[in-house]
């Protein structure tokens, strides 16, 4: 795969996050729906162990809900790309191991 394809791939991901996320269905997903129907959703209330920066995919401090969602999507997409890249470099291809793959 060449560099051009990868950049296009990342741009597609960013475009999906920025332009489609505001149109996502607000309905509960499968597990949430089951938890609601079967009466155990309340077990999750107030159990948050960490303070997330953008809970429910909403960027803080933005008045427009659509824009806040778009921004959260863009930030998250870049975070995943960066984290995956770092994890791959540090754990999968650590220095000294480079080039010792199967090829």
């Amino acid at each position: 795969m060449n560099r051009k394809n990868l950049i296009w791939g990342l741009l597609v991901a960013l475009a999906i996050a920025a332009f489609l996320s505001p149109f996502a269905s607000p309905s509960p997903d499968g597990l949430e729906r089951v938890a609601e129907d079967k009466g155990f959703l309340h077990l999750a209330e107030g159990k948050e162990l960490i303070h997330a920066l953008m809970p429910d995919y909403v960027f803080p401090g933005i008045a427009s809900e659509g824009l806040a969602t778009s921004l959260a999507g863009l930030v998250g997409t870049l975070l995943v790309f960066g984290a995956m890249y770092l994890v791959s470099l540090v754990f999968v291809r650590p220095k000294g191991n480079a080039g010792k793959g199967r090829s």
């Binding site: 077990l43 997330a52 995919y57 998250g76 997409t77 790309f81 754990f91 291809r93 793959g101």
Partner: protein, 218 residues
């Protein structure tokens, strides 16, 4: 189906975390052998795509939505070990920054969506894809792999919740499998479209050839 904190009891989430940690350690050592330096960015792009796609909840029926899980997509294009690393990264970012899925439930979420889903997809794809020749066979194999991966993850999720004593299995299992049978159709359609497009782009036309981007045998 990101499990939040509060649904699982300690013996279940600790157990799931131990299994997931073992699977991840194996994934790192397996991908280390096949992944080449130039292929590293492809894992990041796949992760970015799956994260973005997971934000797009599509309505399935009666006030419920579903979104792509991506385990089948990553496993069919990059291989099941790379898929495990990618999905785990997505889940960790979602948990840390968006509070989607709980901290204690992370091990269970990784087990369901980053280990079980990709492996069920990969196994199904290899098994069914090997039975039929040609494009139609591969499309059917991809769709079935994606659908089954969602059902398997939903089954595992139900078992974890039931064995935690949260709600009886007879109550949670039919409800989970019912909704995810529908969500799995969305997973299947998206996976078929993206896999066929990217396969053509990467020249991954031959069934069973080495992944262009993940280095694993597909």
């Amino acid at each position: 189906m990101h499990i939040p904190d509060g649904f699982l009891d300690p013996k279940i989430w600790v157990g799931a975390s131990v299994v997931s940690a073992g699977a991840l350690a194996t994934a790192v050592s397996k991908t280390r052998k096949v992944l080449e330096d130039r292929q590293v960015p492809a894992l990041g792009v796949m992760g970015a795509f799956i994260f973005a796609a997971q934000m797009i909840n599509f309505p399935v029926a009666g006030g419920t939505s579903g979104h792509l899980l991506g385990g089948a997509l990553a496993a069919i294009l990059l291989g099941p070990w790379s898929a495990g690393l990618i999905l785990t990264t997505v889940l960790v970012i979602q948990m840390l920054f968006f509070y989607d899925g709980g901290l204690t439930a992370l091990g269970a979420n990784v087990l369901n969506m980053a280990v079980i889903a990709p492996w069920v997809a990969y196994g199904t794809y290899r098994l069914v894809g090997g039975l039929f020749k040609g494009n139609a066979g591969r499309t059917a194999a991809t769709f079935l792999a994606a659908w089954l991966s969602v059902m398997a993850a939903a089954l595992a999720c139900s078992l974890e919740i039931a064995f935690s004593g949260t709600v009886p299995l007879a109550v949670v299992l039919p409800a989970m499998l019912g909704w995810h049978a529908l969500i799995g159709i969305g997973e299947g359609l998206i996976t078929v479209v993206v896999v066929s497009f990217v396969s053509r782009l990467w020249g991954l036309e031959q069934f069973g050839q080495k992944s262009y981007a993940g280095g694993e045998q597909l």
